[in-house]
């Protein structure tokens, strides 16, 4: 799993010179200092980035995976691979956008692996009771969250897109960097997703 995350992180942004950006405006002074400390083998540098970004990354992951424990595991995996992966950070986008993109890709891969695992189990255990179609088992916390229940009806990729735009307030330019789709396509996807969500909320939750 960690190998997979490493390849994802390296695919996010690669730099042939294998060096951190010298004086990138995409980094805040605090982030720049943290990256230098990480390069020097100082764990405190990683803690600084954790304090700055872990909360947002955890919530992004939670909205995609819909499971708190799995979301925490994904943050753990991401930060563990960060010191090595940051060598490939070119500073073409902000570090926040770069991290959101890495987390988005990581979560979609986790869901794909989980889906394949479940499909395999269904084939191997045909007499067993059918397994849940949900990507990962939800906990009581998720079930009590209206938005989370509504997001359940959307594809994981669309959940991620909506969350980053509407809750995290990312710009279309930042979303283009994360989803690698033209701005017009993303606008259309967002519009359709909002309509679908509005319909789901009206249909499923208006009556209790």
């Amino acid at each position: 799993m960690s190998m997979l995350l490493s390849s994802l992180l390296s695919a996010v942004d690669t730099n042939p010179k294998d060096a951190l950006p010298a004086a990138s405006s995409a980094l805040s002074p605090l982030e720049k200092q943290a990256l230098e400390r990480i390069r020097g083998g100082d764990l405190q540098g990683l803690k600084t980035l954790y304090d700055m970004h872990a909360l947002n990354l955890l919530n992004q992951s939670w909205r995609i995976l819909q499971n708190r424990a799995a979301a925490e595991d994904s943050v753990h995996d991401l930060f563990l691979k960060l010191p090595e992966a940051l060598k490939g950070f070119r500073g073409e986008s902000s570090l926040r956008t770069w991290l959101f993109r890495a987390m988005h890709n990581h979560c979609l891969n986790l869901l794909s692996i989980e889906s394949n695992r479940r499909a395999l189990l269904r084939r191997e255990l045909p007499s067993e009771e059918p397994l849940s179609q949900e990507p990962m088992a939800s906990t009581a916390l998720e079930n009590h969250d209206l938005l989370q229940r509504a997001l359940d009806y959307l594809e994981p990729d669309t959940r991620s897109l909506l969350w980053l735009k509407e809750a995290e307030g990312l710009s279309l330019k930042e979303l283009v960097a994360i989803f690698e789709e033209p701005e017009g396509t993303l606008k259309a996807r967002l519009s359709r997703a909002r309509e679908k969500l509005r319909f789901i909320l009206a249909k499923e939750f208006d009556h209790g």
Binding site: L46, A54, N59, W62, E72, H76, P83, L147, Q148
Partner: protein, 122 residues
């Protein structure tokens, strides 16, 4: 009128990382390579002050002096030369079988007999 969806997202519940999450990351990250590798910013003075580097240099110097002082080992430097290799084989053979090179010890009777024949000056 504000879109209720906007309100829903802006007031969406956010979960906090559990207190153990950072501790778990820190413990695992400490075991990972980047935190144990030497810093690229370490100065040359720091690098050369390592005792192991000093010993390695000393050993290399001793080996160089040994090669200069003991020419018997030099043939190894030119293995393609048959003559040199043959000379080395002879030297090695004599070193391994010193008895073959050692002159025989003659007893007094033999010496007297050889002297009478004029073979040796006694």
């Amino acid at each position: 009128m504000a879109d209720p969806l906007d309100h829903l997202f802006q007031n969406a519940r956010r979960i906090q990382p559990s207190p153990e999450l950072w501790a778990r990351i820190a413990a695992d990250a400490s075991r990972e390579m980047p935190f144990q590798a030497a810093s690229p910013h370490r100065s040359l003075r720091e690098a050369t002050s390592r005792p192991s580097l000093f010993l390695e240099g000393l050993l290399a110097l001793a080996a160089a002096v040994a090669l200069l002082a003991f020419p018997v080992f030099r043939p190894f430097s030119d293995p393609s030369s048959l003559a040199t290799a043959a000379a080395f084989d002879a030297t090695l053979a004599s070193a391994l079988n010193p008895a073959e090179e050692r002159p025989e010890i003659l007893d007094d009777e033999t010496i007297t007999w050889l002297a009478s024949l004029g073979e040796i000056a006694y």
